[in-house]
Symmetry: none
Subunit: 251 residues, 2 copies
């Protein structure tokens, strides 16, 4: 894939932006733990782990892109020295279930409710990612469509659990929390929407350099929203709940 | 060993997955110490050390695999530039005894019981690993079988100590702890079972690329289960015990 120098530099710098955003967010959520009550700290730690894992993968993606390129030409043939897109799947396999657990953890629901939500969301989200991968690496259009459809089924189930099941628990949350969780849920759906769009783009789109650039920039912005902005929203919810439960607003 | 590009990429990405899982788990157990009573924190620190040591070795294994490969051909002849499988043995020599000490530490048994279990489990587990190594590097089938059998003897002794001796101590644990320790012990046996299977696979199996891929992927998944999932289970047990001893469930 031959990129012109503007395209190549855009992708390179967007990867670097993704990397440093994840690292900064990791440290921020780690050192902010004292600002929330003890019961909400685990949600913050999980957010740190999500951005830590994503930071690791952006470091690898950044290096892989650099080493797979020569004069703006990026090697994409799956050979040893080509750009390794699979880092994204390994990342999602770990971070997507963690993001869902993070939402449940910050709500501090009753133990049996938490457990029931987690035991349904975690396998569903892992299945969603794992089923997407064979389609991503295949070059056969029917296989791509089949795994695209298969991967959509757990995605719809996750939407059902988040909007219908989780919705019931939001009524008992302090003022403002339900609205923020609602926004968090929309953020999650909006950013996760980027991934199937990019997937369809790969199937029907032309193999042009501008498609490649659009997909890489789109993935990176979606990752920063779905992990960093998401984590900062989790911190905000944890602080709202901590204050509703009597923590002094001087932290 | 010539791998096709899917095989090479699978092994490469599985190593990267192992590496980042170990690192994330190390940080998670380190920062979660305040969530358990002080007497259980050493078990968590040991779990961090196990995943830290394993993370180091996965970094080395990942780099070694990359540098020993050229166009999907992996050098395995034991020369200076070949893939260094011995990192796994160094890793196990350190982490396997630590994992066993971790189990004993989280149970907080009477001092003399702990000491007696540790002085038997640590030498047995070190002997198990050390006796496997000469068989692993040998290319003579009789030598391989001999060291395989020798290494199995301490393994059986460890099973005896864990199931019979440790079993007696579990009766005095708080509700739920005995079941979780039981599951932990099964996790340990199930994942440790992968190593002798891979060892036998090396002796009787063909030297095909798919055997190589199966063994590497199998080892990595077993390591993630035996170290990360194991460590998170140790954290769960430590929390159950902390709460049974009066720690407030708000952490």
């Amino acid at each position: 894939m031959q990129l012109d120098s503007n395209q190549w530099n855009l992708v390179y710098n967007v990867f670097s932006f993704g990397l440093v955003s994840m690292l900064a967010c990791t440290i921020y959520t780690l050192v902010s733990q004292q600002r929330v009550l003890a019961k909400y700290r685990n949600a913050l730690v999980m957010s740190s782990m999500v951005t830590f894992i994503a930071g690791y993968h952006y470091l690898r993606i950044f290096d892989s892109f650099k080493h797979a390129s020569e004069g703006g030409k990026v090697l994409l043939d799956g050979s040893q020295n080509s750009f390794n897109e699979a880092y994204r799947y390994v990342d999602w396999l770990l971070t997507v279930p963690l993001l869902l657990v993070e939402v449940i953890a910050v709500l501090a629901l009753a133990k049996e409710v938490s457990r029931s939500l987690i035991t349904r969301l975690v396998p569903a989200s892992a299945a969603m990612i794992a089923l997407g991968y064979p389609g991503e690496i295949s070059s056969d259009q029917n296989t791509q469509v089949m795994y695209g459809v298969l991967s959509t089924l757990p995605f719809i189930y996750i939407l059902y659990v988040l909007f219908v099941e989780l919705g019931k628990s939001l009524e008992r949350q302090p003022a403002g929390v339900a609205e923020t969780v609602g926004r968090l849920r929309l953020l999650l759906i909006a950013t996760w929407g980027v991934y199937p769009i990019a997937y369809i783009f790969n199937i029907v789109g032309d193999a042009s350099s501008s498609s490649f650039v659009t997909v890489q920039v789109g993935y990176t912005i979606a990752d920063v929203l779905a992990k960093c902005v998401f984590g900062l929203t989790i911190l905000k919810i944890a602080r709202m709940k901590s204050m509703a439960e009597g923590m002094k607003d001087d932290h």
